[in-house]
Symmetry: C2
Subunit: 211 residues, 2 copies
């Protein structure tokens, strides 16, 4: 499998999942501004929207969209490593993947992380996002993970919540979320993915500064 | 199964799917402003976020989030009626559910349909949403449905695109999308759901006008 990623972007959830499950993959870094891979290819030829993550399977097919990729990876992982095994718990996994993808990633952090978003869009996103964070905080206060065990939804949530530090979202106001995030970043798969992608992110910033 | 819906909201995708698959359900209308059901219950007791759709299964469990609900319904439908049967095509279904849910529903139409969203948020959403519409338009030009056959992702996409008429999104600029939408709204399940929910929507508007 090939993973097309940008450092610290939502594609880190796939890296965490691959590490967690012990699945080998080839990682291709994409510059989120130029939409080119480090080896000079036009990433829009792979995903016309230019969005990471995208994967290319061993049979050459391209799959995009985070929730779909995470479930695809879960299907290749040891049973239970990234997704529960019953139909009902799978529905719950999809519920959390959808919540993280729509309410947190797209609606809240999307505008906040976009330097081109106008102030009105950022303020609106911040205000609308509070209900989701409050619900999540209450939920996580009594739970270790989103489901009974670690799942790909935790890989996604940990990735998205990790962005808060560079936004006006103050996670310190949400003790349940803060404790969850601390637990998750102490997990070997998350710690390794974050450490590696932070290095790549800093290298990318340094390259951009010299252009 | 119980479906909690608001007229013409994204929950219409679930109604379309239920009609398409011939699955019986009890429909509870939720006022999206007051968050109360028509029979006077507080919908936030069912979904703390107050968002439709939510379903209650026959065993009493509540499931939220559109992509999860549509896949749950697909799992109860005749084989192939709402979702493909192979793992790979299921991944494609998840890809499209995620695209419609994040890029179109949440990022584009969310701010455009919200009377409380500031102009900056609406303009930003409209600008950011164009890439997704262009990709979709090119894709649909040569296809009848998102996948090889009708699926729950079409129910979701038809619902979301139906909102364009009350927003500045001009679908007439996208001939592939326009033709798709015309085909979909001629489909009995979609036509029935839309006709019924439009009536309910107008009744809701009339009730609000008399308060």
């Amino acid at each position: 499998m090939e993973l097309y990623f940008s450092p610290l972007a939502c594609s880190m959830a796939t890296r965490i999942s691959l590490y967690e499950a012990g699945i080998e993959a080839t990682y291709f870094e994409v510059d989120s501004k130029t939409k080119r891979t480090r080896d000079g290819r036009d990433f829009r030829q792979i995903n016309p929207l230019g969005l990471v993550p995208a994967i290319r399977t061993d049979t050459g097919e391209v799959l995009t969209e985070n929730a779909a990729i995470l479930q695809y990876v879960a299907g290749r992982a040891p049973s239970g490593a990234l997704a529960p095994t019953t139909d009902w718990e799978r529905a719950r996994l999809q519920q959390w993947l959808c919540f993280v993808g729509t309410e947190l990633h797209k609606a809240l952090f999307g505008p906040l992380l976009d330097p081109n978003a106008p102030d009105g869009a950022k303020a609106y996103a911040l205000e609308k996002g509070m209900a989701g964070l409050e619900m999540l905080d209450a939920y996580l206060t009594t739970r270790e993970f989103l489901l009974d065990e670690f799942s790909a939804a935790d890989a996604y949530l940990a990735t998205v919540l990790g962005w808060a530090v560079v936004t006006p979202v103050q996670l310190s106001k949400f003790p349940g979320i803060s404790a969850y995030l601390k637990r998750l970043y102490a997990r070997p798969s998350v710690a390794r993915a974050f450490t590696e992608e932070r290095s790549l992110y800093l290298e990318e910033q340094a390259r951009r500064a010299t252009i």
